[in-house]
């Protein structure tokens, strides 16, 4: 559709046309500035908590548990060095053996949503998965934040 529009604009004599091929979906998924009614409603992106604790896959459980408790969290997001999400540690996993590396007890496939998801849809998906926690990521896998309705302001 955008290619067709570009071709039409060229047929009108405009010369400097570019096409953003990935389009609006890509823009919104990367949590970039947008306007419109969606910008005024609650979404996964606007509700995501961004200062939750994170850890690496090889960190030891004891150390991660200590950090999470200090920050008053029962969860910790597992990321690599470029902040790509690898998994999630919830309360039960944080209670595992002190010396275990995080990667052995983390959930590698937690519920993951895009920033533009409306809040209603977020709640439906969390309900369907029977989970109290979900992650928000960009299409490149990088962490935007964590959704925890009981903790969300």
């Amino acid at each position: 559709m955008s290619r067709r529009a570009a071709a039409r604009l060229e047929s009108f004599g405009l010369e400097n046309i570019c096409v953003y091929v990935a389009g609006k979906q890509d823009w919104l998924a990367f949590d970039l500035p947008f306007e419109g009614s969606l910008a005024e409603t609650r979404t996964a992106g606007t509700s995501a908590i961004k200062d939750m604790p994170v850890c690496g896959p090889l960190d030891k459980i004891a150390e991660v548990r200590r950090r999470a408790e200090q920050a008053d969290w029962q969860e910790c997001v597992v990321v690599n060095e470029t902040r790509v999400v690898l998994g999630l540690l919830e309360k039960e996993a944080l209670g595992a053996n002190d010396e275990l590396p995080v990667e052995e007890v983390m959930d590698p496939a937690p519920l993951t949503l895009r920033p533009y998801f409306p809040w209603k849809s977020v709640m439906e998906k969390m309900h369907a998965r029977k989970t109290a926690v979900a992650l928000v990521t960009r299409p490149d896998g990088k962490l935007v934040g964590l959704l925890k309705p009981s903790k969300t302001r």
């Binding site: 071709a7 004599g13 570019c18 096409v19 091929v21 970039l32």
Partner: protein, 116 residues
Amino acid sequence: MRRHRFLLSKFSKFVEVQAQTGSVSWALERRCMVRLLRDRRRISRKDDLMAEGINRDEVETLARNGAQVVEVLGAKEYEHAHIAGAINLPLTELNRQSASVLIRDRIVIVYCYDYQ
């Protein structure tokens, strides 16, 4: 494609340096952008491509430097969400008259929902 990326990064660096030294002028930026785009288009023509396909980072850079961003989806979809600063020219209503709102010597970035 690598050459395209090189040209854009060269342009971004140029604007950054000019802005830092306070010597940037809109006219100069615009001339530079148009020239770069023409270079890119010339390369694209060789590959039998149409209007230049650009990515998210390039949209940000070009929009920050005065490019016109145009959503070609319908008004309802535009009202729901659009790139900050974008205008709406629905494809269904696109004609010479509606397109006359675009400034001819400035870059136009066209987008819809996804790769359709």
